[in-house]
């Protein structure tokens, strides 16, 4: 998840594009509103015979403006400008031929097609591109008026409409440009901040992983040294070296949530669990392993590492605190998760009374499993033993139970 604010460049592009769309809609509406004006002007003067030519021009320009509004390709806008310029000239000349008085009484009608020439804009554009297109349109519109003035041998008259449209949109685009310039000065780069947050969050997870690893290796090894006999046997020395090697390599820090092949992961998980069990048995804890179901599940590498480490921590707790010499591991598979229950019948404890500074349960078990999307439930009471239920989601059911095929 990221801050729900678009990067400034994207936001500026969207706003400028929206302005361009609004300009095109104005062009369409301008031509559409000109049709009733044309009817009113000609019919009220008894000039219905003069209607077909200007009406056809308006309809053609309207159709073209709708097309350019929907598909604002530069070449289409160019065609609209070319056809529209000719249309604007013929529109004015045909009406002036019907009634030269329209030049004085209804000039508002005469220059409507010329106004649509000003209202052109291509698609996603910067404010500068939008401004350039408006100015190109204004130049074309003025050219059409000049042509009319030459052909009709009248003084040049563009009317206020095109000029007002240009002024309005120049102001609008300038305000937009000013806003965007201020944005760049005042708005932080949320992209960078987001990336930094993600890095910090990852570091937080990794620090938890380091805590758990140090707890399970260094801290346990130091505890073992404190209580060890004077001479260490080969298995202890090997374990010390393995733990040191784990810490030095630190490859487990970079273990990502990527999927690996099901066989490798499951074999790894099974082998690792059995190694933990074997080690515990050597240290005096008898572990019985039960299971149900024969399905094959995908576990992420991260999840399988979490399961192994948490299982080790659970058994370590049984060995050190329960006063019991036996424990049970029960593995079962659900449709979407794997459940691991580690139970003992030892002295038990009151969960709420475990002080905050005891990291064995919180850090090595709960945080580890929840970090990979799993959940942990602990049932324990003094004298009634302890059961820890860890549930870890599987990513994909590769193969359902094969009992039937067997």
């Amino acid at each position: 998840m990221r801050v729900a604010v678009l990067p400034r460049d994207q936001a500026a592009l969207v706003i400028t594009s929206a302005m361009a769309i609004a300009v095109r809609i104005c062009s369409v509406a301008n031509l559409a509103l000109t049709i009733p004006l044309l009817f009113d002007a000609l019919l009220s003067r008894g000039l219905s015979a003069a209607l077909p030519i200007p009406l056809t021009i308006l309809l053609v320009m309207l159709a073209l403006s709708i097309v350019t509004a929907l598909k604002p390709r530069p070449w289409l806008v160019g065609v609209f400008l070319a056809v529209g310029a000719i249309g604007a000239v013929v529109f004015q000349l045909s009406l002036l031929a019907a009634d030269p008085g329209l030049n004085d009484d209804a000039f508002f009608l005469l220059n409507r097609p010329a106004i649509s020439l000003v209202l052109v804009a291509v698609g996603a554009a910067t404010w500068l591109a939008g401004l350039i297109w408006i100015l190109i349109g204004f130049a074309t519109s003025t050219l059409a008026s000049v042509t009319v003035a030459i052909i009709a041998t009248q003084p040049l008259r563009t009317g206020w409409g095109p000029i007002l449209m240009v002024i309005f949109y120049v102001v609008a685009y300038s305000v937009l440009a000013r806003i965007q310039a201020l944005q760049r000065q005042r708005v932080p780069n949320f992209e960078e901040l987001d990336a930094e947050t993600r890095r910090h969050a990852t570091e937080e997870v990794l620090r938890d992983r380091v805590s758990a690893a140090v707890h399970d290796t260094l801290l346990n090894d130091l505890a073992f040294v404190m209580n060890s006999p004077d001479a260490l046997d080969e298995r202890v020395v090997t374990r010390l070296r393995e733990d040191l090697s784990i810490l030095r390599g630190a490859e487990w820090l970079r273990t990502s949530a990527e999927l690996t092949t099901v066989d490798d992961v499951d074999a790894e998980l099974r082998n690792q669990v059995m190694m933990v069990v074997s080690e515990m048995q050597w240290r005096g804890l008898t572990v019985r392993v039960n299971g149900s179901g024969t399905a094959v599940r995908h576990l992420t590498v991260q999840a399988s590492h979490a399961v192994i480490a948490a299982t080790r921590a659970c058994l370590e707790n049984v060995l050190r605190h329960s006063g019991e010499t036996t424990a049970e591991i029960d593995l079962s598979y659900g449709p979407e998760d794997v459940t691991i229950i580690i139970a003992d019948e030892g002295s038990g404890f009151i969960l709420e009374s475990v002080p905050d500074d005891r990291l064995g349960v919180r850090q090595s078990i709960v945080n580890r499993i929840t970090a990979v999307g799993g959940s942990v439930k602990i049932w324990s009471a003094p004298g009634a033993g302890t059961s820890i239920v860890m549930r870890v989601p599987t990513q994909l059911v590769e193969q359902e139970a094969l009992d039937a095929t067997a």
Partner: protein
């Protein structure tokens, strides 16, 4: 909710508040255009006015409506509702009526009547702040009212145009303005919504982030924790024997590592920031961990902006997080800052607006700078 319906319920400002905190220039630009355009056309038809001062008053009324929009859309003001927006349009329609009354009965060219354009510009001034339906209803009503007023008071004295032509002439500018504004608003909301709903292009390379973070943690955290114990255990493994002194040292090292682990596991991301500044964090339940990435980014940006502000006593910056009964987290940020209120709000506005997109119930005390907000319980977050 279907996307199209959702697009109709948001304004350009609500979908992207950052773009419009400096956008209050838009209403001022519209006010200026009303004044310039109004005066120009009034001067052009000076003789048609029975009392030119009435025209000037109506220009002031219409421009004032846009200035009102400017004032009510200053950063951190609440969104504009129907009533306030209706009030703005009422001012402009009143300006139209005053102007029409003054021109009534005079030889006057409808196409040079400035007042309908005031409706256009007032609608444009509200473009970023109103939803498309509000713009259609209010802008459409104002346009209708303008046409009715114009036809009632001005049309009977026209001889160039029939009733249809007069109606189009009067409504021409407002119709174009409302259509353009509604298109503008809807286009921004729909496009930005789609971009925000699928921000995949903004994702960074997860592997690179992981490697970078792993390097930092390995270099600092792991190295610190294992600095003394690892060589000690290596020595023991090499020797294969343990002396009583070494047992004692193992106990000391174990206690120290345990203390370090406890300290480390209790530190949140917010406290890490506090360690690098004079920021004070009160977070006994470690609720900072309940915040998602977007909330963390937005709050971090705000805190950094405050700390970077000249005149801020960074030691007075206090962030307090408390668990609410419903599982949510109540967060309060307070500080002493020497900047005047206006400057302070403008300086912090983008950060507060960004924070507002990520949390709930953001409230800003404008006078004694304090910010409070709520982080929804896990599972209910946006």
């Amino acid at each position: 909710m279907p996307p199209r319906r959702r697009y109709l319920l948001q304004s350009a400002q609500s979908i992207d508040p950052i773009s419009w905190f400096t956008g209050t220039n838009v209403p001022l630009a519209c006010a200026a255009l009303i004044v310039v355009y109004g005066f120009a056309l009034i001067a052009g038809q000076w003789d048609a006015s029975r009392a030119p001062v009435a025209q000037l008053v109506s220009v002031a009324l219409a421009a004032g409506a846009c200035v009102l929009v400017h004032l009510i859309t200053r950063p951190m003001r609440p969104p504009i509702g129907w009533v306030v927006a209706g009030l703005v349009f009422s001012f402009v329609v009143a300006a139209v009526a005053v102007s029409a009354l003054d021109y009534s009965g005079a030889p006057f060219a409808l196409e040079f009547w400035w007042a309908p354009s005031a409706i256009t510009l007032a609608t444009a001034s509200l473009a970023p702040y109103l939803t498309a339906p509000k713009l259609i209803v209010l802008g459409g009503s104002a346009t209708g009212a303008t046409v009715v007023i114009g036809l009632s008071l001005l049309d009977p004295f026209q001889d160039s145009w029939g009733i249809l032509g007069s109606a189009v002439l009067i409504g021409y500018s407002p119709i174009l303005g409302v259509l353009a504004t509604v298109t503008f608003s809807y286009s921004i909301v729909s496009t930005m919504s789609r971009m925000l709903d699928s921000p995949s292009r903004n994702e960074v390379d997860g592997r690179a982030v992981l490697d970078e973070a792993a390097n930092v943690v390995e270099r600092v955290t792991l190295a610190q924790l294992s600095a003394r114990a690892a060589p000690f255990l290596e020595r023991i493994a090499d020797a294969g024997v343990v002396s009583p002194e070494e047992r004692s040292l193992a106990g000391q090292l174990a206690r120290r590592i345990r203390d370090d682990l406890v300290t480390q596991s209790n530190v949140t991301w917010l406290e890490l920031i506090a360690q690098q500044s004079r920021l004070v964090v009160i977070d006994p339940k470690r609720r900072a961990r309940a915040m998602d990435d977007a909330q963390r980014t937005a709050l971090r940006a705000l805190l950094q902006a405050i700390l970077d502000t000249a005149g801020t006593d960074s030691g007075s910056l206090l962030v307090e997080l408390r668990e609410a009964p419903d599982g949510a987290t109540a967060v309060g940020v307070s500080l002493d800052i020497a900047l005047p209120e206006g400057l302070r709000i403008m300086h912090l506005a983008p950060y507060l607006l960004a924070l507002g997109t990520a949390v709930e119930d953001l409230r800003v005390d404008r006078h004694a700078l304090g910010v409070t907000f709520r982080v929804a319980p896990e599972g209910e977050q946006r």
